[in-house]
Amino acid sequence: MLDTDFFRRWMAATAAVVAREADRLTELDAAIGDADHGSNMRRGFAAVNDVLEKEPPATPGAVLTLAGRHLISTVGGASGPLYGTLLRRTGKALGDAPEVTGEQLAEALGAGVSAVAQLGGAQAGDKTMLDALLPAVEVLGNSFEEARDAALAGALATVPLRARKGRASYLGERSIGHQDPGAASAALLVGALTEATEPGAGGSA
């Protein structure tokens, strides 16, 4: 079972990995966007960690809802509303249970991902964060490692795609050959699940 602490560790691990990879995310964004994805994500998840420490929520759902709301009010750009909606809607789907199963998390994240697709009007293959999230959600019920690998593969598979959403879409054909920065950061968020399990817990859901 996954308790409230697990979800706080997930957000902390995400903040840490986003900070470590911020320069790489910004480089990816410089190629087909506007060179700020890394700094925005770092700023947002650092703020999320601060608020989770100051006002520790009581349930897994509340951790993600608060994190999502905080991303919406601190990040800006497209990433703020999109990542904020992802976590907020995942949190809402978890309800107020004190502990949830891996399957419940997979289902809730599926609801969060659908909300992102609706808000951004994107679908699979548009070269967006969805290209990492959709394959991850499919296998999240099996294990976090499988989800991490699927998200990473999905992010890498955005390289040959032509962007149809967001700022990269202005480039048309010239967006081909670059990894989507949103898909890359989404893979970090999913990958952080494997670091949130306690040492010795094995990492499977």
Partner: protein, 328 residues
């Protein structure tokens, strides 16, 4: 760069703006710039905002005759809904608020969320999207045309109408009409360096230029060997006219991207006027300067707006903002 540290560039700029413009309320912490006399009784409020790095857009256009408030985001990053809701609340006199939103995914998402929240607080909100950049052609497969120079026309003309006491529906429909009558095309002679990254966003060797750029260092659609001012004017004005096909006089904005000297911009304007005259397009008014910039990018953009008599009258109406000031 003339900065302290990258993290405080936006806040430092706002502090300096507060010091220079006591006629504005500048909230450095909440990231808001508001007319000191807001809310003005019976007047529709005009709120805009967007990423920083395009100064004087938008905060430099706050004041009588133009915007009621502006929400500056991080550099090239849309502001957050909280800022827009606060701005709406600060300027709403009960006559409602118009959000002027440049068409970028982030700005649209955040302003939409803000509109919903403001309506929950009982504020009537309308929204106009500015999408004038003809370099983004294939709208079905993109996020749609970018909002660039036409933002200035929309904010000036709709702002003047709001100052006359027109109701929200009229201000909104005129703002929409100004946008629909406007087209822009931009050219970069150098890339742009954001403080966070510290190196140029894209690689543009000297001796080459990039046609059809945006205002965030998004690379353009085509790279060519350096052209003369006259050749650039030909390319830019033709791209705009092909799409706009004006049947009457136009407003002209010859806009600098930030690092191109005003002397060169005026020289470029002479070429723009030549092309317009060759194409039989009459010019109602012309504005030349750095208004919708992209940090330290060298280059320029041309925006044309086909105008009727009402739009020219509102363009000429008095305006008192840090960046546009005439007629009073």
């Amino acid at each position: 760069m003339l900065i302290n540290v990258p993290e405080t560039v936006v806040a430092d700029g706002l502090r300096g703006m507060a010091a220079a413009h006591p006629e504005l309320v500048v909230d450095t912490e909440k990231r808001l710039v508001v007319r000191r006399d807001a809310p003005v009784a019976g007047k529709v409020g005009l709120v805009s905002g967007g990423g920083s790095g395009h100064e004087p857009l938008h905060a430099g256009f706050v004041g009588p005759g133009m915007l009621s408030a502006a929400c500056p985001g991080e550099i090239f990053t849309s502001p957050v809904p909280d800022q827009m809701v606060r701005a709406a609340a600060a300027v709403d006199s009960g006559a409602g608020v118009l959000f002027v939103v440049k068409n970028y995914t982030g700005d649209v998402l955040n302003f939409d969320m803000a509109a919903e929240l403001a309506e929950d607080e009982g504020i009537q909100v309308a929204r106009v999207l500015v999408d004038d950049d003809v370099a983004v052609a294939d709208s079905t497969f993109t996020a749609g045309r970018r909002g660039t120079g036409a933002t200035l026309f929309v904010e000036k003309i709709a702002g003047a109408l709001a100052d006359e006491g027109a109701p929200l529906e009229r201000v909104e429909s005129l703002a929409r009409r100004v946008n629909e009558s406007s087209r822009s095309f931009g050219v970069a002679l150098s890339s742009v360096t954001t403080p966070a990254k510290g190196t140029p966003t894209f690689d543009l060797p000297s001796g080459e230029l990039e046609l059809g750029i945006g205002i965030h260092g998004e690379p353009g659609r085509e790279r060519r060997p350096m052209m003369t001012s006259g050749e650039i004017a030909d390319a830019a004005v033709h791209a705009v006219l092909e799409d706009l096909r004006p049947s009457g006089p136009v407003l002209v904005l010859v806009n600098g991207m930030g690092a191109t000297p005003l002397l060169e911009l005026y020289g470029f304007n002479a070429e723009v006027q030549r092309v317009l005259s060759e194409r039989g397009v009459s010019v109602a008014r012309t504005l030349v300067g750095n208004y919708v910039t992209s940090l330290d990018m060298a280059g320029c953009s041309v925006t044309l707006c086909q105008v009727d008599e009402e739009m020219v009258r509102l363009w000429d109406a008095p305006v008192q903002t840090p960046a546009l000031r005439w007629g009073r």
